[in-house]
């Protein structure tokens, strides 16, 4: 259901985000802020080699130091725990918090020291002597794919975790029948979200209650039960505290190895144990890197640039182990053609291991690199045909009348009006003026270009990529829950069953409930019960919470409202259909002066059983567990399935200038059109889009986890991993459009990944437009200053058109 033209009371109004109040006074409760008596601290011993056999670990010197409590090695931990869950069916690729016998990347944790202070733990960690026998290693993804490369996991036999080809539609026929083809390779460099807060976890085991309390900076589906599984505890023995504030995550704060490590230690040692990654541990050994992908794209198209078919080979270097990260090749299947009307697709998804840091889920779970590849292909088509890039996009974009639109891989896009969004952005930009401005910059001697990208944000989440890529996993349930309770005083309290990292979920859920109950959202108390007291939740991933938490809250509130009406109607001795709910009170439609107030109905519910309708539970507590809309099915034999339910759209338009002598790019103007359906809270959504664009600028121009030939990570600290500051982010104009989703309670779609999905494509587009007069093209990200400078200088000196990187 959706409310299309209806004006909302609270939804879409410009309300403050209530969470902000505690943050501006410094009262956020981050994991490192939680203090328990007798807590001891962990520091890690990391392997310096990209691959090595661990011959022995000498701990006596470390243990002799005052204040050192314990040194844990991989073998002891492995004997007491289960390996961490992998997503794919790769039983011989075992991942544990500490390396066992073999270390597989430089920075992998080999031993953990526990001491009275973190400083002492670090002192002792330096005294732990590990003898290594270096092994052959492989770093490059394509090299790792080759059968002769050293296998990171010898028992697995190769570095290939996944190599699956899907063919949706008549690909060969479409290619044969198309007059034009082209192919290109684009590369998405290894970067990540790198939150300012590192992963932190405090675990405390109560042996009498047999409960493991976990305070962690985490954003992960199934975190409590995966901790329990690994520690061989019943699920009801792990209590994750959902009221910890997370200092940014954007996907990567899984922390499962950290939590299992400290969970084991606290049980073993009998006091609370805390691990707060320092930045060096985080960058190298925290397992929070992002996709590192080569895309080989082939498209078949006609003389008008209309693309009929696409072949896409995506090879991702996931690092030395894999949890859920290879699924980042699967999620984009749900939007594999982007916003375009491509008739058939062949998609080959390859995940390989290498001796690099482990990859984790990064914002949009693989969609942003995929969008970049698709947009590069579309632009190459335009170039090939000598057509305007905007026009080629218009010709290929699914049009508003075609929704709901089913793409070849089986997902149906719910709604959209892509052409309208683009028109709005062009109007706001005054597109002719923008072109004139570009030409004026060119006249001034700069290399200037206009960039654009059109792409989708699949939202709502649904883990059908799991059964798609791992048929042994038949997960089709993906839920979020909400509980509402009105107490005897009439106060409303609701619950969220997961941690948040700045998405404003408390504001979201209060707005949704306030909208249904017609009461001021600020009157609604939001609490976060711990995982033992929580209903099922899949955590805020996949741009899902507006849809799922909003939906669950809506339905729970509806149930409450219906009960209030039923109680009042019964007490008024009228049929329920004659009762009118208004602002919390209930009136008799035919005698509006007769009714029951909120307070009266609450009192009846809690205290006057004799006035309740028959077979009515006393009190006012309602829950709703919402299954993802359109979800619940397994894939077909040929790999088609409905993935996410809702699809937001964004169109980026950039004016960029490059100093030709120095290679430095500057974004002169940035506009983005954004349609995420009904916006529940404008301040929150705006923040998401602007933050996502900043993140995309970082991934395009500044950030890279570069390695040297010896397998050492070169960007180990913030001196070398360059996060954009306020200087690097231009002002962004956001143009809104609303095409509500038919699947959601308010018509809302997700927006948590917005901006990041299209910014890299748009920046690449702008750079390439700027370089076009020199005949240069860049097909990799990030685009670095010196690299551009070198390319431009070479082109100017040789004057050779068509040179590519």
């Amino acid at each position: 259901m959706s409310n299309t033209a209806k004006a909302f009371r609270f939804i879409s109004t410009d309300r403050r985000v209530r969470e902000d109040r505690r943050f501006v006074v410094g009262k956020g409760r981050f994991a490192a802020d939680v203090a328990l008596p007798d807590t001891r601290h962990v520091a890690l011993v990391a392997c310096p080699h990209p691959a090595a056999r661990i011959l022995s670990i000498h701990t006596s010197e470390a243990l002799a130091m005052p204040g050192v409590r314990y040194v844990l090695g991989g073998r002891e931990l492995a004997a007491a725990t289960q390996p961490l869950l992998a997503g794919l069916d790769t039983p011989k690729v075992m991942r544990r918090p500490l390396a066992v016998d073999v270390a597989r990347y430089a920075g992998e944790w080999v031993a953990a020291v526990v001491a009275d202070t973190r400083a002492i733990a670090e002192d002792a960690a330096e005294r732990v002597q590990v003898d290594y026998a270096p092994l052959p290693f492989v770093l490059d993804g394509e090299a790792a794919f080759a059968p002769e490369s050293p296998a990171v996991h010898a028992d697995h036999g190769s570095n290939v975790l996944l190599d699956r080809t899907f063919t949706w539609g008549e690909v060969e026929r479409d290619f044969a029948q198309s007059p034009h083809h082209l192919s290109l390779r684009v590369k998405w460099g290894r970067s990540s979200t790198v939150p300012v807060e590192t992963f932190a976890v405090l675990a405390s085991w109560d042996p009498w209650r047999e409960i493991l309390d976990v305070f962690a900076s985490v954003q992960m589906p199934r975190f409590p039960d995966q901790v329990a599984l690994a520690l061989k505890l019943p699920g009801s023995s792990v209590r994750v505290h959902n009221d910890v504030d997370v200092g940014g995550s954007y996907g990567v704060k899984r922390g499962i190895k950290h939590a299992v490590l400290v969970g084991y230690l606290t049980r073993r040692l009998g006091f609370p144990v805390r691990l707060v990654e320092d930045r060096l541990e985080n960058m190298r050994g925290g397992d929070g890197h992002g996709p590192e992908r080569n895309f080989d794209v082939e498209v078949a198209f006609d003389e008008r640039g209309v693309i009929r078919s696409m072949k896409l080979r995506a090879l991702d270097n996931v690092g030395a182990y894999a949890g859920r990260s290879p699924f980042q090749l699967g999620k984009p299947i749900g939007a594999i053609v982007g916003p375009y009307r491509i008739n058939s697709v062949e998609y080959r998804a390859i995940a390989v291991t290498s001796n690099k840091t482990v990859q984790e889920a990064v914002r949009a779970f693989g969609q942003s690199p995929t969008n970049y590849a698709i947009e590069r292909a579309v632009e190459e088509v335009a170039r090939h045909r000598g057509l305007d890039r905007l026009e080629v996009r218009r010709r290929n974009l699914i049009s508003a009348e075609e929704f709901p639109y089913r793409i070849p891989s089986g997902t149906t896009y719910d709604s959209g009006d892509y052409h309208a969004v683009i028109d709005k952005v062009l109007a706001r930009a005054d597109y002719a003026d923008l072109i004139a401005e570009r030409d004026r910059l060119r006249g001034d001697g700069l290399l200037a270009g206009i960039g654009m990208a059109a792409c989708l944000e699949p939202s709502g989440a649904n883990s059908t990529f799991e059964p798609l890529l791992n048929p042994k996993n038949e997960t089709t349930t993906y839920v979020e829950s909400c509980r509402i309770h009105v107490d005897v005083s009439g106060a409303v309290t609701t619950t969220i069953h997961t941690l948040s990292s700045g998405q404003g979920h408390e504001t979201l859920v209060a707005s949704a409930i306030g909208e249904v109950l017609e009461i001021d959202p600020d009157r609604i108390r939001v609490v976060r019960p711990d995982s033992l007291a929580s209903l099922p939740s899949q955590s805020p991933v996949g741009s899902r919470m507006a849809i799922m938490l909003g939906g669950a809250a809506f339905h729970a509130a509806q149930k409450l409202k219906e009960r209030l009406i039923a109680i009042a109607a019964h007490d008024l001795k009228i049929p329920a259909e004659q009762a009118v709910y208004h602002g919390g009170d209930v009136f008799d439609r035919s005698r509006p002066q007769i009714g029951r107030s909120w307070a009266e109905v609450v009192t009846i519910a809690h205290r006057h059983f004799h006035r309740l309708p028959p077979a009515t539970e006393p009190g006012l507590a309602f829950t709703h567990v919402l299954q993802v809309p359109t979800g619940g099915s397994l894939p077909t034999a040929d790999g088609r399935v409905q993935m996410y339910p809702c699809f937001a759209f964004e169109f980026h338009l950039i004016l960029l200038a490059i100093d030709p002598d120095l290679g430095k790019a500057e974004i002169k103007r940035y506009l983005v059109g954004h349609d995420c359906g009904t916006v529940i809270n404008p301040k929150i959504v705006r923040g998401m889009t602007l933050g996502g664009i900043a993140h995309g600028i970082g991934a395009s121009l500044y950030e890279e986890f570069a390695y040297n030939a010896d397998g050492q990570l070169l960007a180990q600290s913030f001196m070398d991993y360059l996060l954009p500051s306020a200087h690097e982010i231009p002002p962004v104009e956001i143009v809104h459009h609303v095409t509500p989703s038919p699947h959601t309670v308010f018509g809302q779609k997700g927006s948590g990944e917005s901006g990041y999905l299209g910014a890299p494509g748009a920046i690449a587009s702008a750079v390439n437009d700027a370089l076009a007069p020199l005949g240069l093209v860049v097909n990799s990200l990030p685009i670095k200053i010196a690299q551009l400078g070198d390319m431009i200088a070479a082109a100017r000196s040789k004057a050779t058109p068509g040179e590519r990187i």
Binding site: D278, G663, K664, D720, A786, D790, A793
Partner: protein, 295 residues
């Protein structure tokens, strides 16, 4: 990232600090700590003793000494940024200061600390070398003065012995009436360590010809480099683009630029040429506010 343990002392005078250093027990000086503390946090530096001279008033000064401006080692960078004597008498240093890190770094970082740290990309070091500053340090009771060019011997290395304390640097004051300065650098983000930087201070005669020119490049070679030959080449000439570019190219021909993760040697050489041209042009234009642009 906690440092290895150390003892801490805050001597009340330079004499006391030098006496402590003379004990030779792996002690290091700390003033602002903005470069030393990160090294210690990463355990790349592990002094057993820190001698804090950050509050020594006797080393915090900006004053005229004969025909030079003397700047004390513990003078905070933020003070230099706004000091009127620096602005009028050592304009190139005033020009360069906003490029040094970020404001919170400059709030604690010291002039001497930056020099002693000797990062090849450091702005203060580049200005010191470009202007031919004299750097003074005290070793025991001896005061030793060296030219800035001699002071820096390699990346992160200087002539300072472990027992020495940098006390001040003297910048020669140019007497010419018409002075202009230019400072340019290229980095990934504003305030990052530069891949390449260029500094220029120019004095013009009444007829607009170049009477004197001090030029330097930083972050391109292991230590900042003063380009005397280029300065000589342009002396007595009018600034004219073709001549300027040719002279710059010639001056950089025998430079062996650094190559690293951020930039290739070729990039640095080209960037040096571009930044020098811009620095010199800026210097020329600010030296004569009513002049037309150099053609």
């Amino acid at each position: 990232m906690k440092p290895a343990p150390f003892k801490y002392a805050r001597p009340a005078s330079l004499d006391a600090a030098c006496a402590m250093l003379a004990q030779g027990d792996d002690a290091r000086l700390i003033a602002g700590g903005q470069t030393l503390v990160p090294l210690m946090a990463m355990r790349l530096a592990r002094p057993k003793r820190l001698i804090d001279i950050g509050r020594l008033a006797e080393l915090a000064f900006v004053r005229r000494e004969d025909d030079a401006v003397a700047i004390g080692a513990t003078t905070k960078q933020c003070v230099l940024e706004h000091d009127p004597l620096v602005r009028s008498q050592v304009p190139l240093l005033a020009k360069a200061m906003p490029f040094v890190g970020h404001a919170p770094i400059r709030a604690r970082g010291t002039f001497g600390g930056s020099l002693a740290n000797a990062d090849p990309a450091a702005e203060i070091a580049l200005v010191a070398v470009t202007l031919g500053a004299t750097i003074v340090y005290r070793d025991g009771s001896e005061l030793i003065a060296v030219s800035a060019a001699e002071f820096f011997t390699g990346p992160m290395t200087t002539v300072l012995p472990p027992s020495a304390c940098l006390t001040c640097a003297r910048f020669p004051v140019w007497r010419e009436a018409r002075l202009g300065v230019g400072f340019h650098e290229i980095n990934a983000r504003r305030s990052d360590f530069a891949f390449a930087s260029a500094a220029a201070q120019i004095a013009l005669d009444e007829d607009g010809t170049c009477a004197r020119l001090a030029l330097g490049i930083g972050a391109i070679t292991p230590v900042p480099r003063r380009l005397d030959a280029l300065g000589e080449m342009l002396k007595g000439k009018r600034m004219e683009e073709k001549r300027l570019r040719a002279a710059i190219a010639a001056a950089l021909a025998d430079i062996d630029p650094l190559s690293d993760l951020h930039a290739s040697a070729d990039y640095r050489r080209r960037a040096a040429a571009t930044l020098l041209f811009r620095a010199i042009t800026d210097a020329y234009q600010t030296a004569q506010p009513h002049a037309r642009h150099a053609s």
